[in-house]
Amino acid sequence: MTIAIHVADLTRRFGDLVAVDRINFEIVQGEIFGLLGPNGAGKTTTLAMLSTMLEPTSGAAQIMGIDIKKDQDGVRKAIGIVFQDQSLDEELTAWENMDFHGRLYRIPRETREQRIDELLNLVELFDRRNDIVKTFSGGMRRRLEIARGLLHHPAVLFLDEPTLGLDPQTRNHLWKYIEDLAKEKNITIILTTHYMEEADRLCDRIAIIDHGKIIALDTPARLKESIGGDVVTIQSPDTSKISTALSVPWIKRLETHDGEVILTLENAEQHLSMIVTRLNEEKVSITSISVHKPTLEDVFLSFTGKTIRDEDISRKDAMRMHFRMMRH
């Protein structure tokens, strides 16, 4: 197995803020590796360093054996990147955006044109190749950016939040492309996301990153196993009484969060009636109760003590405030 990416104690500070804090990992060739974390966790900063856009404060990394500090051009030739924010020329057509990229990477004309056609077909934009990008939807733009990132046949592809802001259908569509790519072209992919479902579906391994630190790193299956059983969520107006009512050895973990109590236990289905009985005895009223297999959401909660959605809400609020301020 060839090591495609090797990262050792990589760190980046912005003034006092440690955006990326001594992270370490290794990715083997052909793997899809996910960086999962809330807003501001340091995902984009990590990719910026690996792609030579940003100098690390300390630490080292190699992409396909090439040092990111010593041979920036070498790294740039080996990677393709889809940035978090859009980076197309809206005044050019899809084909022209591809052509510009191909020329920048000095791909000879014949190969270039052949690959452009092939890739535009792959992302189903061939019929729209002569349309100005301004007329494209968000999903089409994203697909075009992915096609562009592949044009120079990079060994490693960086995808920064590839499906952010897209509707579920388009997202599903893109996931299929990414999966096929990794399989067919044996490309190593490192993607960042704060969608649990995306990480779960696509990634061979996931690093959960929060406040610049990697707090867990494993396959999605093993991360979920680490929860140690099933998850029971109880909604109730008096959550405070639940923890005393349910202090029994077969419940491994009990957390209260947002008017919900989340329990972890093995064979939850069998214990459900016991839980309900005990709560009834203690006169705790139950609004709803549900059982599910652990998801990455539960993993995230157990490692960080918060849900990734908390952060999403605060981000939406921040946006709303921003718009409100703009109006005044």
């Binding site: 856009m53 859009q86 197309l88 020329d89 809206e90 020329r103 100005i132």
Partner: protein, 249 residues
Amino acid sequence: MDIVYTIWLRSMKRYVRSKSRIVGSIAMPLFLLVFLGFGLNSVVSATSLGQQYVMFLVPGMVAMSVLFTSVFSGIQIIWDKQFGFLKETLIAPVTRLEIMFGQTVGGATTAVIQGIILMVLAVLMGLRIENPAGFFVALGFMILVGIAFTAFGIAIASRMEDMTGFQLIMNFVVFPLFGLSGALFPISSLPGWLEPVTLLDPLTYGVEGIRYGLTGVSQINPIISAAVIAGFAVAMTVIGAYLFRKISV
């Protein structure tokens, strides 16, 4: 060279598609030419000029369209920054110098085309170029002005985060440079104390050079004009390249 060509090609494609920009940056000098030129033609005494005022004004307006188009082309890097496209260029395995040269050549080309369009309109309005070789002299000066001020725009854009500072630069740098350059009136008609200031304005030499080419008359020796504006173009390119090297996205 192929990278410079690639960036140039993109500028050209964008230019050809931006009809409103083409018309917009021609309109101002054209209106000035019509209103000032014909309006003041009989008021301004021709004796000090040795020619009609409107004909005196044509080279100034050609220089104006080259000046504004090229500054604007350079400044456009800020749009690329804001629309994210600059990242795509900077992440490629090419040097910043190649990118900067490509932008400069692209901006200068659009600026010169704008100048030529204005020149053609002036010919339709009655300008007669005495000597066909003069056209090429004027063209040479337009290219130098275009390069110098595109590089100037790139230098500014490299240090600016967004377009908010753009108006400031226009009002306090570009307009004064234009006003002092003798595009609108002969340098010799300014009060004595202002004359040295106009001679410090690099654009003065560009305007004088274009005027020499188009009308055969100028107040500054064309050789000196060529030397000064060429030197300025080189200096601006070096400064622009230096600042662009440090640009961050």
